[in-house]
């Protein structure tokens, strides 16, 4: 049978205190008894010695005047709480007994008179005529200094025990009351603990902590929990890896978030209090991430925030893969269509015997593409960029728009201030926008002019189209998220992304009208930005 944590705690508290009380009670009982005996023996001794000093009594004992002694002692014993007072002569015979008057003349019981008869006071526990008693004996001297008698004052042990027991009973009652209070306290105490730990057993709590730890470490996303004063409470392995933090989590705990991540508006107190965010692109320590922030409330008060973030490149590569699949499907369809057209034209030319024209037609098919391929591969060193430009050029051509590369194009070394994915994203978006803007005008379409040039100082990207241009209404807001002129597809994310990448790299964007119409986007990104090194994030291991 499983006993719940609450019952276990309750029982052990009660058992512990009961044993404690029992031991304390026993000790106290022994102590009270001992004290009582000591006190009583002192009282008996004082009484005996005082009685022995009374002059009348000394005379009468010396003369063995039994009646006079009896009258006198009767008055004294009436005022004493002693169980008995006995007067004996120097031969050990009773001269007076406060309880049994008929003992007069008989020998004293107990056999402890030797020392007293030699002039010393004694205190002993002996069995006397009344039972076991504590008694004190004092000698009675005559005027000449000789021992003439004995005074014995005694308390029966049964009487003493009665006093002890009555005292202990009082204490026992108090102890029982205390125990009842303890029962009640323990009960409420354990119940309140149980409530605070959500009725969980300690083993379950341990398991939960383990699970939570394993969960935090197993997810790909970086997770940071901070308290209401922006101190780190929890930071998982992925977060440390993404941010390039080498120190262990326990060292980071308690540090201000601004000490660990360079201050960004994302961690501004005002911003954090204002609202939670979801999938916001920002920069944590030179790493572009997509971050979300949620605040935590407990019983109506703010406890802090939980921040999760992912490396943006990961998402980019995923979406790049996706769009590539889409592109393949697209290409296949277009290729088939083109092929049919070409075969028709060719068969027509051959049928009519126009052989020279047929040869010219065939050569023209690849000539332009071959030129473009030769140009692009000689000017750009990144295969990804080459692929992108070739692909965009091919697709633009299918849509009747020509991509015209400026003869000054040159990007023959990696451009470090921007990641390759960011560069691809910027150029791809600019080209898409330009092609679409051109397409919206009736045929024939004017070419889109492209300049991508890396000099010693900066990277220049300029895309000029002669399309519909930018309407004045949205002109000032084109870089805001969600602002778009497109009617389908991703709405208003392209320029927002471009702007955030360029700004983060310390660059500038110039937007101008083209002549006679259309728009020119010119991007200038300094080449002096810091080189970013991202370690391979292999979370699978």
């Amino acid at each position: 049978m499983k006993v719940s944590f609450q019952i276990k705690l309750f029982i052990s508290l009660v058992v512990f205190f009961s044993v404690l009380f029992a031991l304390l009670g026993r000790y106290y009982y022994a102590d009270v008894g001992k004290q009582l005996y000591q006190e009583m023996s002192t009282r008996a001794k004082i009484q005996a010695e005082e009685i022995a000093l009374i002059p009348t009594l000394r005379n009468e004992v010396e003369q063995k005047n039994i009646n006079a002694i009896h009258d006198f002692m009767q008055k004294i014993s009436a005022h004493s709480d002693a169980s008995f007072i006995v007067i004996g002569d120097n031969k050990g015979r009773h001269l007076f007994h406060s309880v049994f008057a008929d003992r007069v003349g008989t020998t004293l019981v107990g056999g402890d008179n030797e020392a007293v008869l030699q002039g010393k006071s004694t205190t002993t526990i002996r069995k006397g005529g009344l039972g076991i008693s504590l008694r004190s004996k004092a000698p009675i001297f005559n005027a000449a200094g000789q021992v003439v008698g004995i005074v014995s004052v005694g308390y029966l042990t049964s009487y003493l025990d009665t006093i002890t027991v009555s005292k202990v009973v009082n204490i026992l009652i108090a102890a029982v009351l205390l125990l009842i209070a303890l029962f009640i306290f323990s009960w409420f105490f354990t119940r309140s603990i149980k409530k605070q730990i959500f009725s969980l057993e300690p083993r379950e709590i341990g398991l939960l902590v383990r699970q939570q730890k394993a969960m935090m470490e197993s997810i790909y996303e970086g997770v940071i929990a901070i308290d209401d004063r922006r101190r780190i409470e929890v930071i998982n392995q992925a977060a440390r890896k993404l941010l390039g933090l080498s120190q262990p989590a326990r060292e980071l705990r308690g540090q201000l978030i601004s000490k660990v991540i360079d201050p960004v508006p994302f961690f501004d107190t005002q911003t954090m209090l204002a609202k939670d965010t979801h999938d916001e692109i920002c920069r944590f320590n030179d790493l572009t991430v997509i971050a979300s922030r949620v605040h935590i409330m407990l019983e109506g008060s703010l406890q802090g925030w939980v921040i999760t973030f992912r490396d943006r490149n990961e998402i980019d590569s995923l979406s790049a893969q996706l769009s590539q699949v889409k592109r393949y499907v697209d290409n296949l369809r277009i290729m088939r269509h083109e092929q049919l057209n070409r075969m028709t034209t060719l068969s027509g030319l051959l049928h009519m015997g126009r052989y020279e024209e047929a040869i010219g037609y065939i050569q023209a098919q690849s000539e332009h593409a071959q030129e473009l391929l030769d140009f692009i591969s000689s000017r750009f060193s990144s295969p990804t960029l080459c692929g992108l430009l070739l692909g965009k050029a091919a697709r633009a051509r299918e849509k009747g728009v020509e991509l015209c590369f400026d003869p000054a194009c040159q990007l023959d070394r990696p451009f470090l201030p921007l990641g390759e994915q960011e560069l691809i994203s910027i150029i791809g978006n600019l080209l898409d926008n330009a092609i679409e803007a051109t397409q919206r005008l009736p045929l024939p379409h004017a070419p889109v002019e492209v300049l991508i040039k890396l000099s010693d100082q900066e990277l220049i990207i300029e895309v000029a189209d002669q399309g519909v241009g930018i309407t004045p209404e949205i002109r000032d807001r084109i870089f805001e998220r969600g602002i778009t002129t497109k009617t389908r597809g991703d709405h208003g994310i392209g320029l927002y992304l471009i702007e955030s990448y360029v700004t983060q790299a310390g660059g500038a964007i110039e937007v101008a009208d083209n002549t006679p119409r259309g728009a020119i986007f010119s991007l200038f990104i300094p080449a002096t930005g810091i080189a970013r090194q991202l370690e391979d994030t292999d979370y699978a291991t």
Binding site: N331, I334, M335, E338, I362, Q363, Q365, S366, E367, A369, Q370, L373, D374, F375, I376, S377, S378, P383, C386, G387, L390, G391, A393, A394, D406, P407, A408, Q410, E449, L451, K453, S455, D456, Q457, I460, E462, A464, D476, F479, E499, A508, I509, E510, V511, A512, N514, T515, I520, S522, F524
Partner: protein
Amino acid sequence: MQHELIDVLIVEDENELAQLHAELISKHPRLRLVGIASSLAAALAELESKQPQLMLLDNYLPDGKGITLINNPMLARANCSVIFITAASDMDTCSQAIRNGAFDYILKPVSWKRLSQSLERFVQFAEQQRVWKIVDQQNVDSLYQLQAKNYRQDNGSKGIEENTLARVQSLFNDKATHCFSVDEVVSETGLSKTTTRRYLEHCVEAGFLTVEMLYGKIGHPRRMYKRSAV
């Protein structure tokens, strides 16, 4: 001087086309056809047995893509170069081929002139490799010049014409202290905006002009060009 013949392997599944390629090669005095493979597997077998120095590689083959052969270590072992042939609409693959070290790339439909030029350059390339016993930097450089990536050696002429450049520069000479935006230069010279940008940036790179960013409204800076202080 007696020349050795260069062994060529054709990898092409379209028989008609393969025969045409074979004919082109047999016409060249320095090339010798050693085999025609119509699949990836056959190509690998031929590579192993014939050890050709050049391979004309088609991308789409019955049992896979030709591009996968380019990384094959057997190519490096055989010291075999590749002229890669693929459809024009498959330019991503082409770009990949070049980066993986293809000697050249030809788009389909094949221009025979372009293919002949490519073969000719390879013959020269192989010849020079053989003649130069001691390779110095200059030799290496000229070897690389023969590779496809520098096929169009129009270096130096990056769309810059002396007359136009002079026209642009004179504008800055006349008003040495004035800051020009692209639009102003356009209206003064009558060039197109994109051309103007090319010339201005050329001048910046050459050190003739300097650049200043003029920040107006947020997000819309203007790039201003000014004569460099001499």
